[in-house]
């Protein structure tokens, strides 16, 4: 009976295309905002992702998320180092400073100051230059996206030329020389990121009594990291594993920004569009074929077989619509990712979630049709 079901489905070309387009749209509208939301949320903790080495992030107990930097005393590095089970611990500066452009305009930048001795906490990938070049005087490493975009040098003819090694820029009235270009995970603020040493960063930054943003530490092999976090906590600080720190940030953004509501609104709209277009078209398709379902029933097709036929039809359009929708979303996301700074991330769990949503739409659409066919009186075939 499967081939009959599929042929019936394909036979009405216009309706078939209508159902598939409806499901493609639904699938796209479910996947696209979800991928953007995931991308944006991943950016909120991208800094922790990029600083991959430490087991523990130590912050002020009042800090609510990564960007909520509440400076610590420099001596906290030594106190953490002195905690039992810590292999090493270094300080990290992170702050927002203004860079002055050649044309006199200003651009906010995130400046990261790395431990002078070890340079731990540096960018995950260098595109040009070496991390060790930060040991040169006045040196900074610029992230690739910032160098090409917001920090690009404006030429007299209006063109913008990416910042390159050897170029200079002014950070808070301090002259800095670009010694490297790095690639990092884009940040939530989407501003250029500059790496330099801790001592240089704290020289450039406006003077405050405390300037240490984080202490990052590595546990000795075999040490229980959770227990170590608790021991560091007894110093009057708060210690998180990278996962906990990411989670803290993730939930902060979920709780205190309107992003989840926007996201849910768009996803709900996608779902409703899916139900409305695909469900209605599929139901109309079934209604149009009711006479033939009735004929099959009269000729000996049981309700169970009819149910299987309609389920197969729904599954077929669902699979094609889902594939096209997700394919379009990932193609469009891939296209834009290469050309813009769009936050697009499509991990496999998200594919599963959108597949489930499309499945629910198909089941919903099929359920109404199935109910109609199940209740169908086969005697209707004798009515002209």
């Amino acid at each position: 009976m499967n081939f009959i079901a599929i042929k019936m489905l394909l036979g009405d070309r216009a309706k078939y295309i209508g159902i598939v387009i409806g499901l493609t749209f639904a699938s796209f509208l479910l996947t696209w905002p979800s991928a953007l939301f995931t991308g944006v949320m991943k950016r909120t903790f991208s800094f922790v992702t990029d600083v991959g080495l430490p087991d523990i992030w130590v912050v002020d107990p009042q800090a609510q998320y990564i960007e909520d930097v509440k400076p610590l005393r420099d001596t906290e590095v030594l106190r953490v180092r002195g905690t039992e089970g810590v292999q090493w611990a270094v300080g990290l500066y992170k702050g927002m400073l203004r860079a002055r452009m050649d044309d006199g305009t200003f651009q906010n930048c995130t400046v990261v100051g790395l431990d002078d001795a070890t340079l731990i906490g540096g960018p995950p990938k260098m595109v040009a230059g070496e991390l060790a070049d930060l040991r040169q005087a006045d040196s900074v490493i610029v992230d690739e996206t910032g160098a090409r975009g917001k920090l690009a040098k404006k030429q007299p003819d209006g063109r913008r030329v990416p910042l390159k090694i050897g170029d200079t820029l002014e950070l808070n009235d301090h002259r800095c020389i670009v010694v490297g270009i790095c690639r990092i995970t884009q940040t939530f603020q989407n501003v250029p990121v500059l790496y330099t040493t801790y001592s240089r960063a704290t020289t450039i930054a406006p003077q405050e009594r405390k300037l240490l943003s984080f202490v990052i530490a590595k546990a000795k092999p075999g040490t229980d990291v959770s227990a170590l976090c608790q021991r560091i906590g007894r110093l009057g600080l708060r210690a998180y594993t990278p996962y906990e720190f990411k989670k803290l940030t993730f939930w902060y953004f979920l709780k205190y920004t309107g992003m989840p509501i926007n996201f849910l609104t768009v996803v709900t709209l996608g779902f409703i569009v899916g139900i409305a277009i695909s469900g209605q078209t599929f139901y109309n398709f079934t209604l149009d074929n009711l006479r033939y379902f009735g004929t099959l029933k009269a000729m000996g097709t049981t309700n169970r077989k009819l149910l299987r036929m309609i389920s197969l039809q729904a599954a077929e359009v669902g699979a094609i619509g889902y594939g096209l929708g997700v394919g379009a979303a990932s193609a469009w996301g891939g296209f834009l990712s290469g050309r813009t700074q769009i936050a697009f991330s499509l991990p496999w769990p998200l594919l599963l979630v959108s597949a489930s949503a499309v499945l629910v739409i198909c089941i919903g659409a099929a359920a109404v049709s199935i109910r109609k066919v199940m209740k169908l009186e086969p005697a209707m075939v004798f009515r002209s």
Binding site: M8, D12, G300, T302, N303
Partner: protein, 253 residues
């Protein structure tokens, strides 16, 4: 042209054997209360194996209701009805459906061919419903279609591309392909012109009537009465009279 491709029609059954359908005092009412319509008011009718029985009567007299009850697509309210020795009332819905699939062939007034399936695929449907493999079903369907005058090209045509007579021949082939013991036809000539209708019934008479198979044809097309073995005249929900031959009806009616 159908007639030139057909073998000569078999002689009308002289001594019909066992009874295929036996209806005794069958009743059926639609609706309730003041709006109730008593479609069958106590029908008594026997249809014998090997005969072509026509059920005639004016519109609204209950012909379609009666074949629906006999075919097992509509339940009766009262009376007894045995079809091929079985009583639908004692069978589950699924068992009734499967019984229809195995034992009853249908020819509908509007043919009810699935437009997305080719002629040969349409004919194969009853076999597929009965669990025959698609390839075997198609092969068997092609044999039957060949008998009703279809060539290879026509077999691959879709119903909307064919004439009314050709579609009716597909419907006849579909009703025969699984070798059912009872075929019910509802107004098989109503959508056809006189000549085509005549040929279609001739074809049914030739191919469908067999020793163990009964044909029940609902019609009010007097031009095809000549093909009947017996004619049951129905009016107002009851069988008024059963004529033993078309000639008898012509003489007395």
């Amino acid at each position: 042209m159908i007639a030139t491709q057909l073998p000569p029609a078999p002689a009308k059954t002289e001594t019909p054997n066992q009874v295929s359908v036996r209806c005794a005092n069958v009743t059926k009412t639609f609706g309730a209360g003041r709006t109730a319509v008593r479609a069958l008011r106590g029908v008594n009718l026997d249809i014998r194996a090997g005969e072509l029985m026509m059920l005639v009567g004016p519109s609204g007299c209950g012909k379609t209701t009666l074949i629906s009850v006999i075919a097992g697509v509509l339940s009766r309210d009262g009376g007894d009805c045995s079809v091929l020795g079985r009583d639908y009332i004692r069978m589950s819905t699924d068992a009734t459906t499967e019984f229809r699939g195995r034992n009853i062939g249908f020819v509908f007034q509007a043919w009810n061919l699935i437009p997305a399936l080719t002629a040969v695929e349409n004919v194969s449907v009853p076999l597929i419903i009965n669990g025959i493999r698609r390839r075997d079903a198609i092969a068997r369907a092609a044999e039957i279609l060949f008998k009703v005058g279809f060539d290879d090209r026509m077999m691959q045509s879709f119903p909307p591309d064919l004439s009314g007579g050709q579609q009716q021949r597909i419907a006849i082939a579909r009703s025969l392909v699984h070798d059912p013991r009872l075929i019910v036809c509802d107004e098989p000539t109503s959508a056809l012109d006189s000549e085509t209708g005549h040929k279609v019934v001739q074809l049914m008479r030739t191919l469908a009537v067999g020793k163990d198979r009964a044909l029940l044809v609902v019609t009010h097309d007097a031009r095809i009465f000549e093909f009947a073995d017996r004619i049951a005249q129905m009016d107002d929900g009851v069988i008024k009279r059963v004529f033993d031959s078309p000639e008898e009806m012509k003489v007395e009616g």
